[in-house]
Amino acid sequence: MEDEAMFLKQYIQDIWGAIKSLATGMKRTGYYFTHHKEIITQQYPDNRDTLVLPERFKGEVVMIHDENNEHACTGCTACELACPNATIKIITKFDVDAETGKKKKAIDTFVYHLELCTMCNLCVEACPTDAIKMAQTFEHSVFDRSQLTKKLNKPGSKIRAGIE
């Protein structure tokens, strides 16, 4: 008889504990059901105007041009060497200095394959003249893969004076 009483007591205790634990969970979900202020989802395409990405966000590599359409790239290919994925290809040319008549190595085209880039930031770190940086753009999808191969130096741009 003792055993049965113990069993029955245990049985009821089990049920009580189970109901209590389930009720605790339901209380928590019930709380969120009634508290809509806690909702954390963002409405992505709608909030595009107010969306602020941190300045370090690595979206794509861009070349910095100032207002005179001048950049700081000397065409040293440090970034090309630093890149693990062959994302960057630099085509150089030789400018002839108008005053001295000396030939000077300069950048012709800075080819950037966004489709290969993994945003590892190693090229930006490697650049000795801070000519390139990571931009905050992130909506990269296009319909044609060839559009992802970009030319980073703007047409007609030239190297800023005094940068070696």
Partner: protein
């Protein structure tokens, strides 16, 4: 006063006045058929958007909010999407069973609508064994699942079907015993009698703790019977991908989906009828002013209000609890729910015989 039963009576009168009785009956049948189909479709749309909104708010999300005002037409868009999906039949499947299974599921769900009282005097068939009819017909639903699972020629489906076979038949027992508690108290199997017996108070409040226990057992058992989480082992998503309807697509899948939701509605409607007084308004003893206000609310609103509250509770379960394991599921039934509900029935009988209820 405006009510569903008045409208029905008016239509009946008008038809009988203008046509021969046979034609009037046929037209009435057509109207009834169209009405239940409409109810079916509407229930599907409403319950799906309700499920999605409830889950979203519980999960600190917004939920669907693009189609229609506040996303309320989302399920309509989903239906349209399902309509243009190709209905596939897998190569090795048993074609006949595979295609018949959704029909069976729908017929069972539809048949269960017959004895439900949607409002005062508004009932398709008030048969004298209403409760027995419900428990008998609802047992057939397991056949559609077994058919679907077996015919698919898919191992996940087969496992899901087997699981739900063991599960539904087991939980049928405690659901039946919980229903019997009310039958004992009322002394009748007729749905209208059961509702009438709750004129001065719902059984949940009149019948002391045993009825509350019966109510809890009923809710648990019907959650399991309709294969809803945490008892959704038949379609346990993380184990059997989609269980018995893995191979179903397009409209055939939609029919299963719809049947599941309508089943949820029906069991909740039965729960509301048996324990919460069906369309009976909420009355408190001698507060005549209060009772008058309550009476003013249409009876159909009372019925749907109670039913949807129970549906909400079942959804609340789903979005809170993890799933049980198959042996635990059967343990719960055979070691806890069944003995408790048997013992509980004795207590209810004692209360009923001694007249201890209010």
């Amino acid at each position: 006063m405006w009510s569903l039963s008045n409208i029905a009576a008016n239509i009946d009168q008008w038809l009988n006045a203008n046509m021969s009785p046979t034609w009037a009956l046929i037209v009435e049948m057509v109207i009834a058929g169209v009405a239940v189909i409409g109810l079916f479709a509407a229930l599907g749309l409403v319950l799906v958007i309700m499920e999605r909104k409830v889950s979203a708010w519980i999960q600190i999300r917004l939920g669907p909010n693009r189609v229609g005002p506040k996303g309320m037409l989302q399920s309509l868009a989903d239906t349209l999407k399902l309509l243009v999906k190709e209905g596939m039949t897998p190569g090795g499947a048993d074609k006949l069973l595979f295609n018949v299974a959704p029909f069976v599921a729908m017929i069972v769900a539809m048949l269960l609508l017959a004895p439900i009282a949607f409002a005062k005097d508004f009932q398709l068939w008030d048969l004298n064994i209403g409760v027995l009819y419900i428990s008998a017909v609802s047992s057939i639903s397991v056949i559609s699942i077994l058919m679907a699972g077996w015919a698919s020629n898919n191992k996940y489906s087969l496992l899901g079907a087997m699981r739900s076979g063991a599960q539904i038949v087991s939980y049928e027992l405690s659901a039946g015993l919980a229903v019997l508690a009310i039958v004992v108290l009322t002394g009748s199997l007729r749905i209208s009698d059961i509702i009438q017996a709750q004129e001065n108070g719902w059984w949940l409040f009149k019948g002391h703790i045993p009825v509350i226990i019966a109510f809890i057992i009923f809710i648990i058992a019907v959650t399991a019977e309709t294969n809803r989480a945490p008892f959704d082992l038949a379609e346990a998503e993380s184990e059997l991908t989609a269980g018995f309807h893995t191979e179903y697509s397009g409209m055939k899948f939609a029919l299963f989906f719809l049947a599941e939701y309508v089943n949820v509605f029906i069991v909740c409607a039965i729960g509301a009828t048996l324990f919460l007084g069906g369309w009976m308004p909420f009355h408190i003893g001698n507060w005549h002013a209060f009772n008058g206000v309550m009476d003013w609310i249409p009876s159909s609103v009372w019925f749907f209000g109670k039913t949807f509250f129970l549906i909400f509770v079942i959804m609340w379960f789903r979005w809170t609890f993890p799933r049980l394991r198959i042996d635990q599921l059967l343990n719960l039934e055979w070691k806890y729910l069944l003995p408790i509900s048997m013992f509980n029935l004795l207590l209810v009988t004692l209360i009923a015989i001694m007249g201890w209820h209010f």
